[in-house]
């Protein structure tokens, strides 16, 4: 017994596959739709105030299924879902799959005196997986996932007293942009008890932060200064899964372990500062250097109960205090640690089962010592999750996951974010390269 008991269909149950072109067309339509959802027109009003720090809000990999389980899944291989966090979990892939994800994020920021609710819709990743050899567990997956993004919009005010007059002014801070990760990875199962995975990751994106000074009255002029950080570069991720420990005894057969290690990212960094002041535009010379993303280590464990239930726990750590931007340590950050537990009731595999019996249900809990450390105060967050995967036609799935949690504190003048997120993804599969009978 292994943990690959996620609801799916065997190839014999499915009629002859459709041609790849149809799937590609569907994917294109869905991608365009999700792209529209994540565009600025529908993106909503904003994100967390903490995203002003570091590289912004880091996104957890794993996909919608993993999100429903508290972002666990390093030790849960699946033929039906593409977990971008660990290539080693792809070894069971038996059909070409496309998974496209979106994210609704609503954040209620509270400073202890007043609060503000901002919401937005974001693109949350897309992956395409192709099995090469089911016998050897070889599958290739390419995809694009968000790594971090910033979106803040806040104000401050102050004044300055001079020899002859006083300037009252407002400061308007805005931030936007994201850092994304494109990857192509490979799984390989050299042994029944071991699957290995590796991916080539390419990070690219730009983060823009602006400060606009608006003096009151007409005696003083204002201006806007915008700092843009562009990063790009390659890295890699190694992963492994032991899907069963049955060789140590039947009681350990449902046990699986997984691990992932993302290599240190050494990205090209280009920072430039431009401004518009007094009708004079200026762009300062680029600041070029390297951006160092610290390595990430994650380990996971999962246990299957009775074939329909999976209990999992993951732990991640990332040494953000070693992160650098152009030779300078990233400020206001700390090392991050995250642990999570999750449970899944896997859907029935029989076609004759009821709709609700074929659906999978999940729940989870996560605690995260985030990498934010404003003014020396570490920011923690926790959230509970719940999710489901429902079939809609054959081996195609619609997955949802909900997060509710809190981050930060109103002490020390900081913010407490109460957030609610909805992950949604479409998972489509077809048997490529198989000629259908009616063609």
């Amino acid at each position: 017994m292994t943990l690959m008991h996620h609801a799916t269909f065997s190839l014999q149950q499915i009629p002859a596959g459709s041609p790849p072109l149809r799937t590609l067309l569907r994917c294109a339509v869905l991608a365009a739709l999700l792209g529209t959802l994540s565009s600025g027109a529908l993106a909503g009003s904003g994100g967390s105030g903490y995203s002003v720090l570091g590289l912004g809000d880091l996104r957890y990999l794993g996909g919608t299924r993993s999100a429903g389980m508290g972002f666990t899944g390093l030790a849960i291989p699946s033929p039906a879902f593409l977990n971008p966090a660990s290539a080693a979990t792809w070894f069971g892939l038996d059909r070409a799959r496309v998974e496209i994800s979106g994210l609704y994020e609503g954040i209620d920021a509270d400073n202890g005196i007043s609060s503000r609710y901002l919401a937005r819709v974001l693109f949350n990743g897309a992956s395409l997986g192709i099995p090469i050899s089911t016998k050897d567990g070889i599958a290739v997956v390419v995809g694009l996932v968000p790594y971090s993004n910033i979106n803040f919009d806040t104000y401050g005010s102050s004044s300055a007293v001079f020899s002859q007059d006083t300037m009252q002014y407002t400061l308007h801070y805005t931030g936007s942009g994201f850092l994304g990760k494109g990857f192509i990875g490979l799984s390989w199962r050299p042994l029944e008890q071991l699957s290995l995975g590796a991916s080539f990751d390419y990070y690219v994106g730009s983060l823009e932060r602006a400060i606009e000074q608006v003096p009151s009255g007409t005696d003083f002029r204002g201006g806007k200064s915008t700092t843009t950080s562009r990063m790009s570069g390659a890295s890699g991720t190694l992963s492994a899964v032991c899907p069963s420990f049955g060789f140590l005894g039947s009681a350990l057969a449902p046990l699986s372990l997984g691990a992932v290690f993302s290599l240190r990212g050494n990205l090209r960094y280009r920072g430039d500062e431009s401004g518009s002041y007094n009708a004079v535009n200026d762009t300062l010379p680029d600041l070029k250097g390297r951006a160092i993303l610290p390595p990430l280590l994650g380990v996971g464990i999962a246990y299957s109960l009775g074939g329909r239930f999976i209990v999992a726990a993951d732990y991640y750590t990332q040494q953000w205090e070693k992160a650098e931007l152009s030779g300078q340590p990233l400020r206001q950050v700390q090392n991050a640690h995250r642990w999570a537990i999750g449970v899944e009731r896997t859907g029935a595999t029989e076609v004759v089962s009821s709709f609700f019996n074929r659906a999978s249900y999940r729940a989870g809990f996560t605690h995260n010592t985030t990498y934010y450390k404003p003014n020396g105060n570490g920011i923690n967050e926790w959230f509970i999750t719940a999710g489901a995967t429902v079939p809609f036609v054959m081996d195609n799935w619609l997955a949802f996951a909900f997060e509710y949690g809190r981050r930060g504190t109103t002490e020390f003048g900081l913010l407490r974010d109460t957030f609610f997120r909805v992950h949604f993804s479409l998972n489509i599969s077809e048997t490529w390269f198989v000629t259908s009978e009616d063609e």
Partner: protein, 405 residues
């Protein structure tokens, strides 16, 4: 096949539902505004705000020849100025009549103001212009010996103009005006290039006359022609008040007291000032830049043409050529006497200093604003950085904000 259709339908429905849900939930958030902004101690990028006062590091005054083409037409002479007036009525408005007999042609100009000795008579002679000219380009240097036919006077005037709203009338040579109606001169255009009014050497006043750009045609330079047919049986009176005009001006070299610079209208003088603003980091926001200059009242002359004492600052664009500059001519930037010491001018040069901060910094140029520069003879003499009294030297007070990294 039915499954595939259902599959496609389901996909479409799911996508539509997803889009609808996203739109609905996405619209739940508030718009971030200053009013609902959440204040926190999360470290944001700050501005370092400083104040500094710079003293000029260099200055110079230079003469520049520019076309006048203003709303005022200056005519006359003083000890140091001479101004001639050019007029051309649009030839297309003259009907082609080869057989008319011009009985009289009268030029009427309406006065506006004056500079010089108000009781001195104004004397000038009218000559026919010999070649094409453009009011937007002609300058004193254009008016050489071939520009007009100086051998034949086409009219003269001498009189004392006692008020700023009276008219001056001059009888013009009827033979010259008859040629403006002749078809024979259609291909002989030089005869239709209008007239130039040149003040006599004894004139001691400069008069300002209304131009064709005046808001009322009653004030335009007017040509009234009374003509008859050859038999003399029919007499017509025609009036022409549309055309082009300008004046060209000469000035003797400007002599300034030591330690001063000047800007002057009419015969244009401008001044360049330079400051070392390298202490302001690039990327800084220049919140305020107040240039303070002190006027020398004894040598400055503010005429009645444009009594509002305004001087415009401009961004100098070239290290080697001070005549290359850029100005938006916004009145808010104009220097004018402030509320402090009499004769102290304050200029808002924030945009100029902002350009210096970006670089390059070639300094600034002071000039009389566009219209006064082309319709007056105002002279502003300012103390420069070499003047003995420190308090009178140009000072530039700058407030700037630098984003802190």
């Amino acid at each position: 096949m039915r499954d595939r259709r259902r599959s496609g339908l389901s996909l479409t429905m799911m996508a539509a539902v997803g889009l609808l849900m996203s739109l609905l939930v996405g619209s739940c958030g508030e718009d971030p505004t200053e009013a609902n902004s959440i204040v926190s101690s999360i470290p944001l990028r700050q501005l370092v705000i400083r104040e500094t006062t710079l003293v000029a590091t260099g200055s110079s005054t230079f003469r520049q020849s520019i076309p006048m083409n203003g709303l005022e037409l200056l005519l006359g002479r003083t000890n140091t100025y001479e101004s001639s007036l050019l007029l051309e009525w649009y030839p297309v408005y003259f009907p082609a009549r080869d057989t008319i007999k011009v009985l009289s042609a009268t030029l009427t100009l309406r006065t506006n103001t004056f500079y010089g000795d108000s009781i001195s008579p104004l004397e000038f002679t009218v000559y026919r212009i010999s070649r094409s000219w453009d009011e937007a380009t002609v300058t004193w240097d254009s008016v050489d010996a071939t520009f007009y036919d100086g051998s034949v006077a086409r009219g003269t005037y001498s009189g004392i103009v006692s008020s700023d709203t009276q008219t001056v009338s001059v009888s013009l040579d009827t033979g010259m005006v008859r040629q403006w109606f002749s078809t024979l001169t259609t291909d002989n255009a030089p005869l239709k290039y209008g007239i130039i009014l040149i003040p006599s050497g004894s004139t001691r006043i400069i008069r300002g006359f209304r131009s064709f750009e005046s808001d009322s045609t009653d004030y335009h330079p007017t040509l009234k022609v009374i003509a008859a047919n050859l038999a003399g049986t029919t007499v017509d009176t025609s009036t022409y008040n549309m055309g082009i005009d300008t004046f060209v001006k000469r000035s003797d070299d400007l002599t300034l007291p030591p330690g001063t610079i000047a800007v002057m209208a009419g015969a244009v003088y401008r001044s360049s000032l330079s400051f070392d603003a390298s202490c302001i980091p690039r990327g800084s926001i220049v919140n305020k830049a107040d240039l303070q200059m002190h006027l020398d009242p004894l040598t400055s002359r503010i005429s009645r043409f444009y009594p509002d004492s305004a001087v415009a600052p401009a961004l100098r664009l070239s290290a080697s050529d001070s005549t290359e500059f850029y100005t938006t001519e916004t009145s808010a930037s104009f220097g004018s006497p402030g509320s402090g010491l009499p004769g102290t001018f304050h200029f808002d040069v924030a945009s100029i200093v902002q350009s210096w901060v970006r670089g390059p910094n070639y300094g600034l140029v002071l000039k009389v604003p566009y219209y006064p520069e082309r319709g007056s003879i105002n002279l502003f003499v300012f103390y420069d950085q070499t003047t003995a009294t420190t308090a009178l030297r140009p000072q530039l007070r700058i407030v700037y904000s630098t984003p802190k990294n």
